[in-house]
């Protein structure tokens, strides 16, 4: 509902074309994982936004969980060798 409201506000001031929105939607669909939304399917904008919201929420949860896991590991193991390994793998 608010997306419709904001869209009508936008179209009067900056004239966003439907094509622009379709293009941005497909870019958004491209960043979502395949499991959530098949990349080649034509889905409604509302569905893309919904899946995007739940994907962001699950990413936030993953950051939270990994933060907890890392804080445990920080206490028990020496992380510096793990960090060095990760940086090495990124540089290769």
């Amino acid at each position: 509902m608010s997306s419709r409201r904001s869209r009508s506000r936008q179209s009067s001031s900056s004239r966003i074309t439907d094509e622009q929105i379709i293009d941005l939607m497909s870019k958004l669909q491209a960043v979502l994982p395949e499991a959530r939304l098949a990349r080649n399917d034509r889905v409604s904008a509302a569905r893309v936004l919904q899946e995007t919201c739940s994907h962001i929420r699950s990413l936030h949860r993953e950051v939270d969980d990994l933060g907890e896991r890392l804080s445990e590991l920080l206490a028990t193991t020496d992380i510096s060798s793990a960090q060095a390994a990760v940086i090495r793998s990124l540089l290769m």
Binding site: M1, S2, S3, S6, R7, Q10, S14, I16, Q20, I21, L24, M25, K27, L28, A30, V31, L32, A46, L49, Q50, T52, C53, S54, H55, I56, R57, L59, H60, E62, V63, D64, L66, G67, E68, R69, L70, S71, E72, L73, L74, A75, T76, T77, D78, I79, S80, S81, A82, Q83, A85, V86, I87, S89, L90, L91, M92
Partner: protein, 144 residues
């Protein structure tokens, strides 16, 4: 990680530095405090490596600096900043939900919101992969 791109390297360096700092300064604090500091470090390194050209990274850094000035890494700082009532944030979908989830989303026009969201998701995924690989190799080292 298949493609070493500058952004993930930057994020990795920032995050490693922050992790070492947490290790040096917070080893006597509780696990919860350490966990929260690591979370803040994750978002901070994401935002630093994204740079100031992105509205979400600027908004995120502002939020983190405000929280740091208060000197209390409160639990749920992100949730509190992003959402109103708990129930509302769970149900919120569509553009309104995105505006609450993406930092700085409230002040953007619709097109910018979609663009910023795509970039935010990309950087979040890079950060998650980074944390995952550190945690995995650290737990492997611990098992040796």
């Amino acid at each position: 990680m298949e493609n070493p791109n500058p952004k993930s390297l930057m994020a990795a360096f920032h995050f490693q530095r922050a992790l070492s700092l947490v290790h040096r300064t917070a080893s006597k604090s509780s696990r919860a405090v350490r966990g929260r500091r690591i979370q803040c470090a994750a978002y901070a390194s994401m935002a630093y490596s994204a740079g100031p050209r992105r509205a979400w990274s600027r908004a995120l850094l502002r939020r983190l600096r405000r929280a740091a000035r208060r000197r209390q890494p409160r639990a749920g700082w992100r949730r509190r900043a992003a959402a109103g009532a708990g129930a509302a944030s769970r149900v919120a979908t569509g553009a309104a939900g995105l505006r609450r989830l993406v930092p700085g989303g409230g002040g953007m026009d619709y097109c910018s919101l979609l663009e910023e969201t795509a970039d935010y998701i990309k950087c979040l995924s890079v950060q998650v992969k980074l944390m995952q690989s550190i945690a995995d190799s650290a737990s492997l080292c611990g098992q040796l």
